[in-house]
């Protein structure tokens, strides 16, 4: 659905994205994660055609989104900072969206009133809580019937019930109509629940891009103990992190599960245990390898 090739963007000489390649498959729920300042929001603004790339290309179904209303009709964008006019209520904003998106589904809007029943559609949006404002934008964006939903920190401010509710609506759309979702968030636990693809952005480059299952099967936590001294694993395995606790070694290892198991067995351990990593753990250990680790600071 989205193909990004050699994308670069800089502001006043400061390089934010550098030769970035990325591919979001059709029907995927693609989670874009990365530390603060990695360039996620800039990437989102480039994908939505807000910014023009300095170099490289972005294609949404083969077309450049910049200055292309036809492409923009096919996606809905929910930014981290919401836009509405101070006088607008939900009904006004609905009319605005309906006037801009030819595929706006009025029936769906009425149907979803039940889901968003706590919102008074006649009340000015500025008077709604942050979470409710987000709900309004989700509601209207879903009604645009987009083929692609681009979400920048989407559920920030929503209560847990509403988060689930919204993800449930989005995922059912993904399942039913094959909608693609590109979502950037720091809430990795949540992304882990909904994403099937993940890209980790760091210093303007996409460090890792995999399906979540591949990613999780490719990085594992291993607990291993030896009768004698443990071997030097760095020569044998791609170790991201190593910790010793008595005779038990805890390793974070990257690689194919079977290969890792075979190499480990060859070292004659007393026991081995291989555990899957959460997305959050994968992020932390991968970032550690990229000089972005948790520092032990004693104050």
């Amino acid at each position: 659905m989205i193909k990004i090739n050699k994308l670069s963007k800089s502001f006043d000489g400061h390089v934010v994205l550098n030769d970035l390649d990325m591919h979001v498959p059709k029907g995927a729920v693609y989670g874009l994660v990365g530390p603060n300042g990695a360039g996620k929001s800039t990437l989102m603004r480039l994908v939505t055609g807000i910014y023009r790339p300095d170099n490289g290309s972005i294609k949404i179904d083969g077309s450049d989104p910049y200055e292309n209303a036809a492409v923009k009709e096919r996606f809905a964008y929910i930014p981290d900072e919401l836009f509405y006019h101070v006088q607008d209520n939900t009904e006004d904003l609905k009319k605005y969206y309906a006037g801009l998106y030819p595929g706006f589904d009025h029936a769906l809007y009425e149907k979803l009133k039940e889901v968003f029943s706590s919102i008074d559609t006649k009340q000015p949006i500025r008077r709604l809580s942050k979470g409710m404002k987000k709900q309004v934008i989700f509601w209207l964006s879903i009604c645009c019937r987009p083929e692609l939903m681009i979400l920048d920190e989407p559920v920030d401010g929503l209560d847990p019930v509403m988060r689930r509710q919204i993800w449930s609506i989005l995922l059912s759309d993904v399942a039913e109509s094959g909608m693609t979702v590109l979502v950037s968030s720091h809430n990795l636990r949540e992304l882990e629940d909904v994403c099937d693809h993940v890209g980790i952005l760091h210093k303007g480059k996409l460090m890792i891009e995999h399906s979540l299952s591949d990613l999780q099967s490719n990085i594992m936590k291993i607990q291993v103990a030896y009768a004698n001294d443990a071997p030097d694993f760095h020569g044998i395995l791609d170790v991201l992190h190593e910790k010793t606790s008595g005779r038990v070694k805890e390793l974070i290892v990257r690689g194919d599960q079977e290969t890792v198991r075979r190499k480990l067995t060859a070292t004659n351990p007393l026991f081995t245990d291989m555990l899957p990593l959460t997305l959050e753990e994968i992020f932390i250990y991968e970032m550690g390898g990229a000089d972005y680790e948790i520092k032990d600071i004693f104050i």
Binding site: F11, I50, D61, S63, K72, E73, H85, D92, L100
Partner: protein, 622 residues
């Protein structure tokens, strides 16, 4: 995959109109108080058909109807394009399925509707009053020209929004585009008036026609509605109503159509990441640095120097300091950082200061011969010389006489330049001579010189010019003094009745004709005015409405007398009634005719009864 799209999105226009209607409402209220309310008021207070016509025209031609569109246009443009100054709204709006051409056109149209609608509504509400006054043919031209003014200012406001990344910057750009040329020329003139030989009066000349690149100044100065107020019938008056400045207005509208296209082009090229920055385009930054360095540097240096006698080397040092300070200050604002002292910036700042300094060195040295310029009499519609009296001449021969005095002064430039600042030298009194030349194209050239009163070679021809009885009479009593009906006055603290006032006027005119009063500079015996008394005469006169106010230099200064501006008078009094005039003059002991009248009226017994001037001054001070 590009779809064919329409020029604008109706939903954006509709939403803008719904959101920003208060802009229209405010402008509507302003217009109602400028048009229908005063128009209705005329009919309540007058039933004189011609008088009503005059008043209606005066309301339709009020300058506020051109000045308020400057603000209304900014209001319309800034509300509809305000999203450009907020990252949140700018990003979201540009992520919607609307291309920039559609966005620009939709917002442009909605802003224009917001400000044009009140103008049209105000015209519709006012139409019955204008028609009732018999001026129906004025309605459509008035509306069209008003809309044209509005359009011009609106386009400039839109361009300002497109060029700026911050609302404040857009406001500054808007003010700059409207006033730039005028302000720049004003600064250069201020400098020249302090340094150039004979250019001390240059600052006071405010001919708006010169500021064609400053639309707010040019349009408000040149464009307007006028009529021949001397017409005696309503039909003739209605026929005489016409607009002046239409051609420049049409040219402006055409140029603004191109500026609209330029604004659209720039809008399409605009980088949204520049939101909240002063300028949305990199090419604007050096321009801003240079213009502000020039403007602020010159203004600050002049402000300090104008407190004393301008010394050019000190001015140059101040200019360099302030230009550098403002250059780096702008750079800090543009970069949003104090760390701006890079090699490239410093070199650019140095270059800027060198250029600005060079400009002032050129002006100072009169490289272009500005100070030696005297216009060809054939180019002039009038020439004026002010010293003891105001001399205004329209005949070529008389204009040449004025120019001869001017030429004499230029021939003595080397001796006179030291008096340029007006400072006294060796206790010799100085006489200030102001020359004003009105060109046939409407432009004005003005020069002023301080002449020591003992410089006979200049003072004598000047005295010859000044001692023309009709000239002095015009100066004291006005050019249409024969039409004045004198009704009162006072002399030596005694009131005069109409008969005596009229008699004094006639007698004083005879004294002038007989050369009993000398209006001279320099060669007067020291006690000439000592035995004289002050006289005030008041009367009534029909205004000389045929005088085009921009053709006669010094006319504004004589508002209290018979030289007055029809527009000013009528906007103040509502109807062109007869005007009160006042003449003030000194009667000396040489004024035999006047003294005779004063004796007959029992005001004095002998000429000696005229109070010495010194004593009178002492009484006034006391």
């Amino acid at each position: 995959m590009r779809s064919k799209t329409s020029l604008f999105k109706p939903v954006i226009i509709k939403t803008n109109l719904k959101r920003f209607w208060p802009v229209s409402l405010i402008y509507m209220i302003v217009l109602i108080f400028l048009l229908p309310v005063p128009l209705a008021d005329i009919f309540r207070h007058s039933d004189d058909g011609l008088g009503i016509m005059h008043s209606v025209i005066s309301i339709l031609s009020t300058s506020q109807l051109i000045i308020f569109p400057v603000f209304a246009a900014a209001g319309g443009a800034f509300t509809c394009f305000f999203y450009l100054f907020s990252a949140r709204s700018s990003n979201m709006i540009h992520a919607f399925p609307v291309d920039r051409k559609q966005l620009f056109a939709s917002n442009f149209i909605s802003g224009l509707i917001l400000i044009a609608a009140p103008q049209v509504i105000a015209a519709i509400i006012s139409a019955p009053f204008i028609m009732e006054a018999g001026l129906a043919r004025c309605i459509l031209p008035w509306l069209l020209t008003s809309l044209a003014c509005l359009f011009i200012f609106y386009v400039i406001a839109v361009l300002s929004c497109v060029l700026a990344g911050h609302a404040l910057a857009a406001l500054v750009f808007y003010a700059f585009f409207n006033l730039a040329e005028g302000l720049m020329i004003l600064l250069c003139r201020a400098f020249l008036s302090l340094t150039g030989f004979g250019l001390s009066g240059i600052l006071a000349v405010g001919n708006m026609r010169q500021y064609i690149l400053s639309p707010a100044m040019f349009i408000t100065g040149v464009f307007g509605l006028s009529a021949d107020y001397n017409q005696e019938t309503m039909q003739e008056f209605a026929r005489s109503v016409h607009y002046h400045g239409i051609i420049p207005l049409v040219i402006y509208v055409i140029v603004c159509c191109f500026i609209t296209l330029l604004a659209l082009y720039l809008y399409k090229k605009r980088r949204l990441e520049t939101v909240q920055e002063m300028s949305a385009f990199a090419f604007m930054r050096p321009l801003m640095r240079w213009i502000i360095a020039f403007g602020v540097g010159t203004a600050a240096a002049l402000a300090i120097e104008s407190m004393g006698i301008l010394s050019f080397p000190r001015f140059l040092v101040l200019l360099i300091i302030f230009a550098l300070l403002s250059f780096f200050a702008v750079e800090m604002v543009l970069k949003k950082s104090f760390r701006i002292f890079r090699k490239r910036t410093v070199i650019e700042a140095a270059l800027c200061v060198v250029c600005v300094s060079a400009l002032f060195i050129i002006l100072r040295n009169d490289t272009f011969g500005i100070t030696n310029r005297i216009p060809d009499p054939d180019e002039l519609s009038a020439a004026g010389l002010t010293s003891n009296v105001l001399i205004v001449k329209e005949d070529k021969e008389d204009i040449e006489k004025i120019e001869d005095v001017h030429k004499l002064i230029l021939e003595h430039k080397a001796e006179l330049i030291e008096y340029n600042s007006g400072a006294f030298h060796d206790g010799i009194p100085l006489e200030y001579l102001a020359f004003t030349y009105c060109r046939k194209d409407g432009s004005i050239l003005s020069r002023g010189y301080y002449i020591p009163v003992d410089m006979i070679e200049i003072i004598e021809p000047l005295n010859e010019l000044e001692n023309d009885a009709s000239l002095v009479s015009d100066y004291i009593f006005g050019i249409n003094s024969d039409d004045i009906k004198w009704d009162s006055g006072n002399i030596l603290e005694q009131s005069l009745d109409a008969e005596t006032a009229e008699a004094i006027y006639i007698a004083y005119r005879e004294d002038l004709e007989d050369g009993n009063i000398r209006w001279q500079t320099g060669s007067l015996e020291p006690d000439y005015w000592d035995r004289s008394c002050y006289v005030t005469l008041t009367g009534m006169v029909s205004p000389r409405l045929d005088l085009p106010q921009d053709k006669i230099p010094g006319m504004r200064a004589y508002y209290a007398g018979p030289y007055f501006s029809p527009a000013t008078t009528w906007s103040m009094y509502g109807t062109p009634a007869r005007e009160q005039v006042m003449a003030q003059f000194y009667v000396t002991t040489n004024c035999t005719h006047t003294i005779e009248v004063l004796k007959e009226a029992g005001i004095i017994e002998t000429a000696e009864d005229l109070l010495p001037r010194m004593d009178e001054d002492a009484i006034i001070v006391g």
